[in-house]
Symmetry: D2
Subunit: 140 residues, 4 copies
C-alpha cells in the first residue's frame, strides 16, 4: 500500500484528523505516522503531558495500519498491551507500527510512540489482531 492510500484510511477517523496524523513512511510491514497532541489531548488542563488514552489510540492505530499496509486488508484489534515508559509531552509526536506476524486469521504487531524532540520512547505496545471481512468493527 502506498503512503497516500494509507493516508486516506487514516483520515477516515475524526480522532486521527484531530491528532493531525500524517503517514511519513510505509515500507514492508512498517509504518511511521507523525502527529500532534493539542490542548484537548492533554492529561489535564495546564498539564504538559498527553493523556494515556491518546497514547493508546496512537499505538493501536500504528499497529493496525502496519498490518493493513502490509496485507491490503482490514484488521481489527483483538487485544492490546500498552506499556507507558515515560510521559509524552504535548505537541509534536511520532508513532511507528511494525508487523510481527500476519497469519491467515491472526496478526500480531507492535508500536512505539516517540517524542521527536528528545528522541525518547514514551510508550510501546504489542497487540493481537484479526482479519475483518467488512470495516464495521470487530468480527471474531
Amino acid at each position: 500500500m502506498r503512503a497516500d492510500e494509507l493516508q486516506r484510511l487514516v483520515d477516515e477517523s475524526p480522532l486521527h484528523r484531530q491528532l493531525e496524523l500524517r503517514v511519513s513512511q510505509v515500507e514492508g510491514g512498517k509504518v511511521v505516522l507523525d502527529g500532534r497532541a493539542g490542548e484537548c489531548h492533554l492529561h489535564c488542563e495546564g498539564s504538559e503531558v498527553t493523556h494515556g488514552g491518546i497514547v493508546a489510540t496512537l499505538l493501536d492505530a500504528a499497529a493496525t495500519f502496519a498490518l493493513i499496509a502490509l496485507t491490503g486488508e482490514d484488521w481489527s484489534t483483538v487485544d492490546l498491551r500498552v506499556d507507558y515508559l515515560r510521559p509524552l509531552p504535548g505537541g509534536p509526536l511520532r508513532v511507528s507500527g511494525e508487523v510481527v506476524q500476519a497469519g491467515r486469521r491472526i496478526g500480531r504487531a507492535g508500536a512505539v510512540v516517540v517524542h521527536p524532540e528528545s528522541g525518547r520512547e514514551c510508550a510501546m505496545a504489542t497487540g493481537t489482531f484479526v482479519r475483518t471481512v467488512a470495516q464495521t468493527g470487530v468480527q471474531h
Copy 2:
C-alpha cells in the same frame, strides 16, 4: 473519596469532559462512570462504532479512578491490557473500574465497558499502576 470529589478529578481532563463522564457510583474499590461517545469519537465518519482508542481511554480512566477513589492518592498507569470483545456503539456508554490490589508501591485494577442499552460487555482491561508523588505523570 466521595462521588463529587472524584468528579472534580475526572473533569480535569478535557478528554473526559468531551466524553461527558459522570461518576455514577463510588464504593470501596469500585467506580462506575457514565458517558457518551459523540461523532468525533467514532471509528470513522458514518460508522456506528466507537474508536478503539476511546475505549482504551475509558478503561484506563475507570481503572485509575478506582485506585484513586480507594486510596485518596494519585496513581499512574504502568501498563494496560485491553481486550476488545465486541464493537461499542456510539452514544451512551458505561465503564466500571475495580481495584484488584492496592500495594505500597504497585496497584492492580480492572475495568469493563458496557453498552447500557444492550447490557453487553464490549471491552475489558487489566492494568498495573504505580503511586505517583505529583500529578505530572508517570513517576517510576
Copy 3:
C-alpha cells in the same frame, strides 16, 4: 464435557501430571483444578515460593481447559497476560479458569490461582485463544 473426559485431556501433559492436576469442577464455561507444587516447581532450592513459570503454566492450562470444556473443541493460546499478585507457596494449590467469550474463531478466557489454605488469590490471567483444527499446536 464431563469432569472425567476433561481429566483425560489434562493428563495428556507430563507437566500437568507432575503438578498432580485433578479436575474438581466443570460447569458451563468454568473449570476448577486442584494440584500441588512440589520441590522441583519452587522458585529456587529451599524457597517456599512456586516458580512464576509454573504459575503461568497453571493459569494457561485452566483458561484453555475452560474453553475446551465449554465447546468440546481444542483451543490454542494466542497470547496470555499474567498478573503476579503475591507469591504462591509450594504445596497444595487451586486454579480456576473461566470463559469470557467463545467466538467462531477467537476465544477469551481468564484464570485465577488461589492458595487454598489462606484462600488468597496469588495470580490471575487473561488470554486470547484460537480454535485449532488438530492437536499439533498453534494453527493461526
Copy 4:
C-alpha cells in the same frame, strides 16, 4: 554481572536446571540462554511441541535475568504478556531477554524464544518488574 555469576543464579531454580539453561551471552541489558526441552516439557505425550507453560517460564526467566544482569539487583515479575507465535519444537532452544527500562522502582523487559535449528521466533513477551528487597518473592 559476568556470565558465570548469572549462571549461578540461573542454577538456583530446579526448573532451570531441568531445562539445562546455560548463559551464552551477557552484555549490557541483554542476556542469551541456551537450553533444551525434554520429554517432560512437551505439550503432551508423543507431541513434538513444547508446553506453553514452559515457553512462558523461559521468557519470564530471560526477561528477569536481563534486569538482574544489568543492575546487579533482584527483580520480581509484576506482570507478563506472552505472545505465542508458533509451536516451539522439543529439543534445543534459545531464549533472549532484553531490558527496556530499569527505573528506580519499576523495570520493563522483553524476551524472545527462538528455535535454533530453524532460526524462527516461536514466542515473545513483554513484562513489568519490580526491584525486590530479598529473594523471597514478590514484594510490592
